[in-house]
């Protein structure tokens, strides 16, 4: 079915109210309308009840006679004009025998949509009514669409508001992670020619690097990382970073006061606003490295001790043990001089005990040294 036919079918179901003090006029109009196909027709000759009927019946179109006793068509138009905003659009087709242009003007000014002059031309009546109802139909459609659009906009606005609140909550969380972190976290752009100045840093940067955020925004890693004096250093790091997406390494940085510190660096690369950016984390490991060096030194000392234990100290002890043992073997001493034999045995046993202790120390040192072999 075409759009036109669909509309026509629709409007034939519309409600029509006819107000005219002359019954013959009403009958005539009703006949014309029935022939066209309209069936929902209400009419009255009593103009005083017109407004009430409009209120209860809610017609889609009003056919209104002007010249009526008591309440005229003009009165009714004037009343309707007052409440026109609160109603759906209701076209008013004015019926009049008065051909005076002034009356027509007045009626139109008061809100009439169109008028028909008596005597009626049948086809004209039908056509005018259909046109007005088509207009109403389209106006109603438009209003529905607008209402629908308003609803959609409302829903969309609510969704956006919820999303905004969630984004704000998340931002608070992430900002906390960023600000509270004890490691220096910073952000900068990167390309083959080198790093840009820092575009963001967290409060820890002041403790770790010595610079405030304002100062850092004017600097780049070239001013901080002592490795950057070598251009290959940057290219090599950049290449690895782009390959794997992240990179861990150690370097020496220069703080604001000139002090050099060992840093563990963790870098991640990602896209930010269409450019390649690096998230960089510096952790000061200078103390850790000092400890490691101290342990290594201690290790070397252990090695020396283990060496000394296992050889240097044992040499004289083994000598003693060998000779004493020989003594006990000599010339049946056990029987000839049991007391002397006893003394010598005691010395020998003590020497063996001492030897055992040295062996244990030697083993422990060797073990400790192995465990710390870094």
């Amino acid at each position: 079915m075409s759009e036109k036919n669909r509309i026509k079918e629709s409007i034939l179901k519309h409600k029509i109210l006819i107000v005219d003090d002359q019954l013959p006029n009403i009958i005539l109009l009703e006949n014309i309308l029935n022939l066209t196909g309209f069936n929902e027709i209400l009419s009255t000759t009593d103009s005083t009840t017109a407004l009430e009927k409009i209120e209860t019946h809610k017609p889609d179109i009003l056919l209104l006679d002007l010249m009526m006793p008591e309440v005229t068509g003009f009165d009714i138009l004037a009343e309707l004009e007052k409440t026109t905003e609160s109603r759906d659009f209701m076209p008013v087709l004015v019926l009049t025998a008065d051909t005076n242009p002034k009356s027509k003007e007045k009626a139109l000014k008061l809100g009439a949509s169109d008028f028909l002059t008596k005597p009626f031309d049948i086809s004209e009546v039908s056509l005018r009514i259909q046109n007005l109802l088509t207009t109403k139909y389209l106006m109603d459609q438009l209003k529905n669409q607008n209402d629908h659009l308003e609803d959609l906009v409302k829903i969309r606005t609510e969704q956006l508001q919820t999303a905004k609140e969630e984004a704000e909550r998340n931002e608070k969380k992430y900002r906390l992670l960023f600000d509270a972190n004890l490691d220096d976290i910073n952000l900068f752009y990167i390309d083959e020619s080198g790093p840009s100045n820092f575009i963001e840093t967290n409060p820890a940067s002041e403790a770790v690097l010595g610079y405030t955020k304002e100062e850092l925004l004017k600097l780049s890693i070239s001013d901080i990382d002592t490795g950057m004096v070598d251009n290959e250093y940057f290219q090599e790091k950049l290449q690895k970073l782009l390959e794997k997406g992240s990179l861990e390494f150690e370097t020496i940085i220069r703080k604001k006061n000139g002090e050099l510190r060992n840093m563990e660096v963790k870098a991640n690369v990602f896209e930010l606003e269409g450019k390649t950016a690096v998230l960089n984390i510096y952790r000061d490991i200078t103390d850790r490295i000092k400890f490691i060096e101290a342990i290594l030194k201690q290790n070397r000392a252990f090695k020396e001790i283990a060496w000394i234990q296992s050889h240097v100290v044992r040499a004289p002890l083994a000598r003693m043990m060998g000779v004493i043992h020989l003594l006990t073997d000599m010339d049946d001493l056990e029987n000839k001089d049991p007391e002397l034999y006893k003394f010598i045995k005691m010395i020998l046993d003590s020497a063996f005990e001492l030897d055992q202790i040295i062996r244990e120390i030697s083993e422990k040192t060797a073990e400790a040294q192995k465990n710390q072999d870094l």
Binding site: S310, R314, R319, G322, L326
Partner: protein, 129 residues
């Protein structure tokens, strides 16, 4: 016994002690003694081309200059393990040293000092060569 005994140790007292034990146990009447790795290498290289006797060496490991390892390396290069055998006698109690020693073909035993009379007596009854 059917072999010559050489005692190598940089500690004179150990040389005296081991010489005494060798005599008393009957292992060897008159062992040769050297107080450094270099000395024994020099001695061996002077006789190596001749038809040498079976030779047992009591070898200390830790000596100045050329140590026991140096002597063992020399013996590996000479490659007369049928004729020259070594018993390491050392004051070291390190497992690493023991493991290292076993790798040398010339080494037939690794003993931690002090050397005991019983051991030498037992050694007599074994056929080393």
């Amino acid at each position: 016994m059917n072999f010559d005994l050489i005692i190598v140790d940089d500690d004179a007292e150990y040389i005296f002690f081991h010489k005494l034990l060798a005599k008393k146990s009957g292992l060897s009447e008159d062992p040769l003694t050297f107080s450094s790795g270099q000395e024994v290498i020099d001695h061996l290289s002077s006789i190596i081309d001749q038809d040498i006797n079976n030779t047992l060496i009591f070898l200390d490991i830790y000596m100045q200059d050329v140590d026991g390892w140096g002597v063992l390396d020399y013996l590996e290069s000479v490659n007369r393990h049928d004729k020259i055998k070594v018993i390491l006698i050392t004051s070291s109690v390190s497992m690493d040293d023991k493991r290292k020693a076993i790798q040398y073909q010339s080494v037939i035993e690794y003993i931690e000092k002090p050397l005991m009379m019983n051991y030498l007596i037992n050694l007599k009854s074994q056929s080393i060569f």
